[in-house]
């Protein structure tokens, strides 16, 4: 599934690519706020990303500091277990930093019906690509279907003998 699940420190959110609309669930303790954005109304999706340098530096300071304590203990006490603890924390730090470099903060702006819905998603790039790909596909299909219906309706209401300018208002549908 191409759904996007965002778990932040404070907010949790799910973006669900449903059949008729893009459903955004803002999770809370006992209820979810449901926002539906119809595919036919989506005008554009803007994506940009930022590396969270503050989090990276924080992780480096905290884990680096935590790894330094057993390392200095190994130097003074010559206890080999302390060295293994320091190595473990060092590997953890490197892995965490790598994940933070790859898993950037993605900012999504969904413009629909003159409004913009903003989402901050700390997810992997392939997750966001998959999500946008499926939203784009559904949106294009919905808008194409709507255009076809509009064209069909216009074809029924327009008599070919009367050539009207494109901007002229059409007669009432039920008249």
């Amino acid at each position: 599934m191409a759904d996007l699940k965002i778990a932040g420190l404070v907010n949790r959110m799910s973006l669900i690519v449903a059949d008729e609309a893009l459903v955004i669930l803002e999770h809370s303790s006992t209820k979810d706020r449901v926002i539906k954005i119809l595919y036919e109304n989506i005008e554009s999706i803007i994506v940009w990303k930022k590396t969270s340098w503050v989090s990276m530096i924080l992780a480096m300071v905290i884990l680096g500091g935590a790894a330094y304590i057993p390392l200095s203990a190994y130097r003074t006490l010559k206890d080999e277990s302390m060295l293994w603890v320091a190595i473990f924390l060092g590997v953890l730090l490197v892995a965490l930093e790598l994940v933070m470099v790859i898993r950037k903060k993605h900012y999504l702006r969904i413009n629909h019906g003159g409004e913009a819905f903003n989402v901050v998603a700390p997810v992997f790039p392939w997750q966001i690509r998959k999500f946008i790909g499926s939203v784009k596909e559904k949106t294009e299909a919905a808008q194409k279907e709507l255009r076809e219906k509009r064209d069909q309706a216009a074809h029924v209401h327009h008599e070919p003998a009367e050539a009207e300018p494109a901007s002229a208002p059409l007669p009432p549908a039920s008249a």
Binding site: S14, V23, T30, D32, I46, E140, A154, P172, A173, A175
Partner: protein, 196 residues
Amino acid sequence: MSFAGALETVRFSGFDCPSCGQRLFVDSSGPASCPDCRWKGEAYIMRPLKEKALLAQEALPDKAVCAHHPTKQAEAVCAGTGDYICMLCAVELDGKIYSAEYLNRAGRDSLEKNYARYMNRPDQELNMYLVGLIFLWILSPVLIPLAIHKFFGALKQRKTDKLYARVVTGSHLAVLGIFLFALTGLYMLIFASIIL
């Protein structure tokens, strides 16, 4: 549903730069950047249909009559169907004018799809009761029936609500159920041993 001339394809011409707010003009999907603040990103451009004229003054010819009351002069254009409508039919909703006829038919469903609402999460409440059962075991005679009620509530909602079924998987509820009934059995054993 009728699309009598009220809808037209809107060619997306641009968007505001998320960093400095300057209008950026982009014709097609792909990488986008702001020349002023050097913001970089990607833009995916769609082609929605939009109402061409929402207000009566913009589209109404002088002799237009209401589509539903042919003897009455048209005062507005329905934003849903594009029909000319009189004041009897016009209903203002969310800043736009719709015909009562349109709202009584499929239009109401279509409009409601856009509105925000709330979805109950009995599984989340069940989670809280389970945590309560572990740390506040003295309250278990109250918490266990509440938790069981929420568990069956979640099962029922899964059957009726498609969206809920998509968010809360069967395996998720199964794990919660196993945990709940294991705790219930444990507390029953403890209380039975205390009483006997």
